[in-house]
């Protein structure tokens, strides 16, 4: 049943690691969310107020006085997106370049499987895996709303950030996928993707603090994901559209390059 085509096969092969990732991301997110009642205490608020604003901004800690602000900063602002980037880059790299360097892509492409079809199905599997992870995290947040006292955040707002987190992961997955599909080299793909992720992170919180570089935030996928506060204002327009547009461009370019080049043994 799971061995029907490259899409289901990819999901089937990733089943164990997917379970691990989903649990890890959910656990990390839940832990942060569970701290909210203690962060709310006056002593904690005073302590945080003592930090220089720049340091807090660098960590995406913009507003720690409201529940939405806290969740946006701690749960959805730092560790979870970083974990999502690591997962997506790993899965995107494995999809073509990893398979190719292992020497196993050869056999598949000698079968009646077109390169475009393979690319589409492999990326679709990545997206589905990502959806499983962010959905599980979202369900955990919904369940914790009462116990951790952030009822103020609505289900719709959680769904909004979940969708944007999915698009954000999809972008980095597409980046690694495209570089891997174009070059077939795993190390290079990981290097480039990690480099872009670090730059994107710095461009969101650190670089804009320099005079005259405020615009850097506008080109950061981190900003496209968190900008406009989806936890307060619901699904945004510009950020998600930019994520979708860049993702599509990366996928199209990577797949095109794959159809034109030699497959390595």
């Amino acid at each position: 049943m799971f061995l029907r085509n490259p899409f289901t096969k990819a999901l089937f092969d990733a089943r164990r690691s997917l379970l691990g990732w989903a649990l890890a991301v959910t656990a990390v997110g839940s832990m942060y969310a569970a701290f909210w009642p203690s962060v709310q205490s006056p002593e904690m608020q005073q302590a945080l107020a003592a930090y220089p604003k720049g340091v807090l901004e660098a960590f995406n800690y913009d507003d720690l006085t409201s529940a939405a602000g806290y969740l946006g900063s701690s749960v959805y602002g730092l560790l979870v997106p970083l974990l999502i980037v690591v997962f997506s880059v790993g899965a995107g790299t494995r999809a073509i370049a990893g398979d190719e360097e292992a020497g196993t892509l050869d056999l598949l492409l000698a079968h009646p499987v077109g390169r475009v079809r393979l690319a589409v199905q492999r990326y679709a599997a990545l997206l589905v895996a990502l959806a499983v992870i962010v959905t599980l995290l979202c369900l955990a947040m919904l369940a914790l709303r009462g116990p951790a006292q952030f009822d103020g955040v609505t289900a719709g707002e959680l769904a909004a950030i979940t969708l944007q987190l999915l698009l954000f992961g999809g972008f980095f997955g597409a980046l690694a996928f495209a570089v891997g599909a174009a070059t077939g080299r795993k190390g290079l793909t990981l290097g480039i993707s990690a480099g872009v992720a670090v730059l994107a992170y710095l461009a969101n919180g650190v670089i804009p603090q320099v005079d005259g570089l405020a615009w850097a935030r506008e080109v950061s996928p981190f900003h496209w994901y968190l900008g406009g506060d989806p936890l307060v204002n619901g699904v945004q327009l510009a950020g998600p559209l930019l994520l979708i547009a860049t993702t599509s461009a990366l996928l199209a370019t990577g797949t095109w390059a794959l159809t034109r080049r030699d497959v390595a043994t």
Binding site: R4, N5, A102, L107
Partner: protein
């Protein structure tokens, strides 16, 4: 062109500054078994990967089953079975799972057919592939290439890692494929691996085809060792000057010699005495090819 399963014209493939193929002209008839021989680095795997559209030619033309491999795409590969020179698959699955998946990619293969092939090669499909020996992994490769009974089998060093018994099984499978009208194109380093099944062999060296020979004709031309036991001692002189005979020695009533070409003169000469026993070993075609493997010969032939 309809009767050619594979044809290439002036096929060139360069890898950066490395030569892969330097103008290969190949013609494989539909329904024949074609042995593709050459030393390491000659360009066998390069040719095969070009036929499957895994890599693209630098220049020249390739036609497989009447289609260009790139344009023929999926529809063309449905009609081909391929075994790579270094058959590697993800080891975290069983043979059954892998073959089931590959069969699905081909639109389904009867379970019975897979089981029958596995049986024939004495292959346990229920074990995880990473736990299998090299030979057993190779068997999985052989099964996946044959299982859908493709019109064209393209096999890169198919018997590497197989023991002599399994090599015989493989020979039987190739013969069955030929009898069923399938075309087989297989590469090897050595003649002995293909001479049992091949109709023709092509020799490739330095990215060029040096010669193509019918195996049957090679056999006729080949030098073989012959031993004849007579009822009583025979004079050496009667045999040593016969056409095709060389290195003749007589040891009591036994004649030993090398025979080049037809056996007619030797047999007629022997028939004047009482022949007790006659031994003629399968000709060693290998010798013919060693000459092609060395540089000097290559120049002579291509000139």
């Amino acid at each position: 062109m309809a009767d050619l399963a594979i044809s290439t014209e002036k096929l060139v493939k360069t890898y950066g500054r490395n030569r892969g193929l330097a103008g290969l002209d190949l013609a494989v008839d539909t329904g024949e078994v074609y042995g593709f021989l050459g030393p390491n680095g000659a360009g066998k795997s390069t040719t095969i990967r070009l036929l499957l559209d895994l890599i693209r030619p630098t220049s020249g033309r390739v036609t497989v089953l009447g289609a260009d491999p790139r344009r023929g795409g999926v529809a063309l590969r449905r009609r081909i079975g391929y075994l790579a020179g270094d058959f590697v698959v993800d080891g975290r699955q069983t043979g059954q799972e892998l073959l089931g998946y590959l069969a699905n990619l081909r639109g389904g293969v009867p379970r019975r057919r897979i089981a029958e092939l596995a049986d024939r090669l004495d292959l346990d499909l229920s074990r995880k592939i990473k736990g299998l020996s090299k030979g057993n992994r190779q068997k999985i490769g052989v099964v996946q290439a044959f299982m859908h009974s493709p019109e064209l089998l393209i096999l890169d060093e198919p018997t590497s890692g197989l023991d002599p018994f399994l090599q015989q099984q493989f020979v039987a499978m190739v013969r069955a494929a030929r009898a069923a009208g399938q075309t087989v194109f297989m590469s090897s380093h050595v003649m002995s691996e293909v001479q049992q099944t091949a109709d023709r062999v092509g020799i490739i060296r330095d990215g060029r085809l040096l010669t193509v020979e019918r195996v049957e004709e090679l056999r006729e031309r080949a030098v073989r060792r012959v031993e004849i036991h007579f009822a009583e001692p025979v004079p050496l002189a009667e045999f040593s000057a016969l056409p095709g005979v060389s290195d003749a020695t007589v040891d009591g009533s036994t004649l030993r010699c090398r025979l080049d070409g037809r056996a007619d003169a030797l047999v007629k000469a022997a028939a004047r005495h009482t022949v007790v026993g006659l031994l003629s070993e399968e000709p060693d075609l290998e010798e013919l090819f060693f000459s092609y493997y060395s540089t000097g010969e290559a120049d002579r032939v291509s000139a």
